[in-house]
């Protein structure tokens, strides 16, 4: 496990991206303006707007266009202007992608997915190496499109996977730091804290072990709180006011920007009666977060599985999802290669996702540009898209549980099961 193993892979991925950036100069801007890639809370165009206001000493949240974390602004203002020298921006996004792939490589190489501390799958030898998993991530068309469209949630993706990788390698505090960054950027990753805590607890280094789970969790939560408060304070000092809370997390909580996206929220809240709007916002958020507790308890023995399933759920049910989210959830699924034979609907799920991936842009075109369709066309296709994803997630959950059950009762392996 060294860099020389993967250097070729990373080089190829970087070269592919650079080639796309160079030979199709219109492609990044086209993808940036696609609703499937850019959401109001991640769009690169909106980042440019915020950056412009920031560099002119105006609050970046004036005008209600920019809804992203304040700390992205100084980072991007260090880079040369993205419209004149786009190469540097491309470079940043390529590096982030490769860093993400590297985290994935470490996770896969650790073998945590098939053999955690409390559970060892009977099929644990049947797995893909980190090289393959990283390659699947790097050459996934969704990942490439995300990289070209430059939404800012690639940073969140990178932070989440590094948090997982650090937790597995026995660095709980670094892991919590990475999770805080992810939460600071996108808010929803904070829901990953319970399974990540369990993962980090299970994989502590023998040298400085904390045996009490309660004590360990308290320390970790404190670390997250401290880290987030520091980030918030820096943001406050940077923007001079607390308005970034309302403009970044407030937008995600209240869904005031109803720009269409591939998720389920926007259409629902366009149609919602005003008097019930706040209630259903609560319902949707609670629905999103209610899985955390149940999953952490149910697959306690495989925290990485809980994280994988949660990432899938988030990419379906979060307020502003995009293909960046599915590229993250598809990135961690190959870690569970050993349960693939137990999955029942892989063909159906894959074809549904492909079907909607092709029809989605077509229906969006019919609605927005051709005018021969309406919002229902696009919404119907996002429903199919979510159906495909939820099939994948539920099927994976089934396979993981079945795998666990077969270890418990080996005599039932391969037999048909019925719920009783």
């Amino acid at each position: 496990m060294g860099f020389h193993d993967t250097a070729g892979l990373y080089g190829a991925a970087a070269a592919l991206r650079l080639a796309l950036f160079t030979f199709f100069p219109a492609l990044p801007d086209l993808l940036t303006s696609r609703v499937e890639v850019s959401t109001p809370v991640t769009s690169f165009k909106r980042l440019q707007e915020g950056l412009f206001l920031y560099s002119h000493n105006v609050s970046p949240y004036d005008g209600g266009v920019y809804h992203q974390a304040p700390l992205l602004l100084p980072l991007f203002s260090l880079l040369p202007n993205a419209s004149m020298y786009p190469f540097f921006t491309y470079l940043v996004y390529i590096v982030v992608d490769i860093a993400t792939a590297d985290a994935l490589y470490q996770i896969a190489e650790s073998g945590e997915a098939a053999a955690s501390k409390l559970f060892t799958s009977a099929r644990k030898d049947r797995r893909w190496s980190g090289y393959v998993v990283a390659a699947i991530f790097l050459f996934n068309p969704f990942t490439i499109a995300t990289c070209l469209g430059r939404p800012t949630n690639v940073f969140t993706t990178c932070a989440i996977l590094h948090a997982v990788a650090k937790a597995i390698s026995g660095h709980p505090l670094t892991s919590m730091l990475a999770l805080s960054f992810a939460s600071y950027l996108s808010m929803y990753p904070v829901l990953l804290l319970p399974p990540l805590l369990l993962l980090a607890y299970d994989r502590q280094n023998a040298t400085n072990r904390v045996d009490s789970l309660v004590q360990f969790s308290l320390t970790a939560v404190l670390a997250v709180v401290a880290c987030l408060s520091t980030l918030f304070t820096i943001s406050y000092l940077l923007t001079g006011s607390w308005e970034f809370f309302a403009s970044t997390y407030g937008i995600q909580l209240t869904l005031t920007d109803l720009t269409p996206n591939v998720g389920l929220w926007w259409y629902f809240f366009i149609e919602m009666f005003d008097s019930f709007r706040s209630f259903f916002l609560g319902v949707f958020w609670l629905h999103l977060s209610s899985y955390v507790g149940g999953l952490s308890i149910r697959v306690r023995s495989q925290p990485l599985a809980a994280i994988t399933i949660l990432l899938g759920i988030f990419s379906i049910f979060k307020p502003y999802p995009s293909i960046a989210d599915i590229s993250l959830s598809l990135a961690v699924v190959p870690l569970f290669r050993h349960v693939f034979p137990l999955m029942r609907y892989t063909f159906f799920a894959a074809s549904t996702i492909l079907y909607s991936a092709f029809l989605g842009p077509a229906f969006y075109y019919l609605w927005i540009y051709a005018g021969s369709g309406n919002a229902n066309f696009f919404y119907a296709i996002t429903l199919v898209w979510s159906l495909g994803q939820s099939l994948l997630v539920s099927d994976l959950t089934f396979a993981i549980l079945r795998d666990e059950w077969e270890v418990e009762r080996p005599e039932m392996a391969g037999k048909e099961i019925r719920q009783i």
């Binding site: 009977a122 644990k124 609560g282 319902v283 209610s290 048909e416």
Partner: protein, 571 residues
């Protein structure tokens, strides 16, 4: 069912293969090989109907082993974790976000205003009597007699005429002396010469003064108690205020105020009055006047409308200033084709003369309602019923007025040519504003002030009443605090208006009260809820919460059942 069996059959070899490779690594269970051997055997039956294998298997397969204690605990924990979210977060959120906020409305006050119990719509009108020829004592006698005469007649129920002796200043005909509106009418009694036998009266054209000249024979003396003159004055006052009373009766009759309070409801409202009231504009503090010149050809292309308005219209506007504000714009449109092309317009054709589709007469600029004055340069005339008689202008109810002018030779319309049209427009403006028709202009305007303020008070009261009824009829409608504020403000201004009914101040208060009441009634968030029956809530909640709720509730029920069963087993 069948699909899953076939799927399983496909999986069979692959899983068994996987097991075979890993069996050495797993804990070496005794019947591992047995499993790998039997699985393909049980599922290779190709076309077995799905219900068939189940009984065959159930006899073969031993019942599942008892659940482990840790699994039972785990399941309870999972169910508890979901219910914890529902109960600790979901229920408070539901409670917080769907409680209907109903601001407290002073319903009793609102209904009492609507029923007319809070305000007696009686206008006190002070009438001063100035009589240079009479002594003070004679005037006092005259006043008391006339007052008792006035109180005796039932014709003026809504007006309360109060006679008083005039202050000395009001005898001079200066504008300053009549500047205050507190005394709407002054009677000036002068003794005529011996030649006249009957008293005569005439209204002053510029000031609210009723001149009465009486023959010396009617001069009040202590003996006669001045009854002859008093009767005459009473009759004159009655005539003067008859129209105002008629309008007030009409307003009161058509408003929601219960009719038992007014004797005047049986008062027959003549048709012309109702017509006149319906054609006047809805009251507004500001009106926008648009003067348009439409020509059938290319000339005339300019007009002296500015000076014409200043000369002929402005005096009227100045007099109306205490009641209304005006903004003015003008336009010239060439090659305008009227809606009716015939040479002589019949009465029926007048209504379609305005070419609303093509003429740029915008409905309203800004918030104020627009009154349109159109001069059409063309050769058309209006044919009236009698063949030889023609007229040139007509009034369009609640819209404006049109004047037909024959085109001059020059391309420029001088101010003199516009005199007649603008004067006509001025008189039409007064009609459109609902000014009464009888009496001198100052009298008509002061009447307009009083009538309008009563009108506004009635409108505001009826809006408040509607709002009160609405909030009682729909218990599930939310009432934002802005509505309560609007109602409070409206009632406050209604009280102020009512305390000084008839004055200019009261008109202003009544106008504010009316605006506030309307705003409260048409509150945006309430209008949307006007039709929202409780059954709709099922449609709102069920599609999402039903599918989510069923597994939650079923899980809870089975868990409780299991728990009970376990307790019974233990016992």
């Amino acid at each position: 069912m069948s699909s899953s069996t076939t799927r399983n059959r496909k999986d069979g070899p692959s899983t068994s293969e996987a097991d075979a490779t890993t069996s050495s690594a797993s804990l070496g269970r005794p019947n591992d090989n047995n499993v790998a051997g039997t699985v393909p055997a049980t599922v290779t039956e190709p076309n077995a109907p799905s219900p068939d294998p189940t009984p065959a298997k159930s006899s073969k397969i031993k019942p599942p082993p008892p659940e482990q204690q840790s699994h039972v605990l785990r399941r309870s924990l999972i169910i508890a974790s979901f219910w914890l979210v529902v109960l600790c977060l979901g229920v408070p959120i539901w409670w917080r976000t769907t409680t209907i906020y109903r601001a407290n409305l002073p319903l009793d006050q609102m209904t009492s205003w609507a029923d007319g119990k809070s305000c007696n719509p009686v206008l006190p009108i002070r009438v001063a009597i100035a009589s240079p020829d009479l002594t003070e004592q004679e005037v006092q006698d005259l006043i008391s007699t006339t007052q008792s005469n006035l109180d005796g007649i039932p014709d003026l129920p809504s007006l309360q005429l109060r006679l008083e002796a005039a202050a000395q200043t009001s005898l001079e005909d200066t504008p300053e002396s009549h500047g205050d509106n507190s005394i709407p009418l002054v009677l000036r009694l002068t003794q005529g010469d011996g030649t006249m036998s009957e008293p005569m009266s005439s209204l002053h054209t510029l000031f609210p003064i009723l001149e009465i000249t009486y023959p010396p024979s009617l001069k009040p003396t202590p003996e006669t108690k001045s009854s002859g003159l008093a009767t005459y004055i009473t009759a004159q006052l009655r005539n003067t205020f008859a129209e105002e009373q008629a309008i007030l009766s009409y307003l009161l009759g058509s408003s929601a105020i219960s009719s038992d309070r007014q004797q005047s409801s049986q008062h027959t409202i003549d048709e012309s009055l109702s017509k006149r009231i319906t054609r006047s504009m809805k009251y507004s503090g500001t009106y926008h006047l648009t003067f348009s010149l439409f020509t059938s050809g290319s000339s005339p292309s300019s007009w002296d409308i500015d000076s014409a308005i200043n000369e002929y219209m402005q005096p009227v506007l100045d007099m109306l200033r205490p009641i209304h504000n005006f903004t003015i714009d003008t336009q010239v449109q060439l090659y305008a084709i009227p809606g009716v092309q015939s040479q002589v317009l019949t009465k029926e054709e007048l209504s379609s003369f305005i070419n609303a589709a093509e003429w740029p007469l915008s409905p309203s600029i800004g918030g104020a309602p627009t009154i349109n004055f159109v001069i059409y340069m063309g050769n058309q005339t209006i044919g009236l019923n009698t063949a030889e008689e023609t007229s040139q202008s007509w009034l369009v109810p609640q819209w404006g007025s049109v004047y037909l002018l024959s085109p001059p030779a020059a391309a420029h319309v001088p101010s003199e040519l516009l005199k007649q049209p603008v004067l006509t427009f001025a008189s039409h403006l007064l009609s459109l504003l609902g000014t009464p028709q009888s009496g001198s202009l100052p009298m008509r305007l002061s009447t307009l002030t009083r009538v309008r303020s009563v009108d506004m008070v009635l409108r505001a009261s009826s809006s408040l009443g509607s709002l009160a009824r609405l909030s009682l009829a729909l218990p599930s409608i939310s009432i934002p605090s802005s509505v309560a504020e609007g109602v409070a403000k409206s009632i406050h201004h209604l009280e102020l208006a009512c305390s000084a009914l008839g004055s200019t101040d009261s008109l202003e208060h009544a106008r504010i009260a009316e605006t506030e009441a309307e705003r409260a009634f048409f509150e945006k968030s309430m209008v949307g809820q006007l039709y929202f029956p409780d059954e709709h809530k099922v449609a709102v909640y069920l599609p999402l919460l039903g599918p989510v709720g069923v597994p939650l509730v079923m899980g809870l029920i089975t868990e409780i059942k299991n728990w009970k069963a376990r307790r019974q087993q233990k016992a």
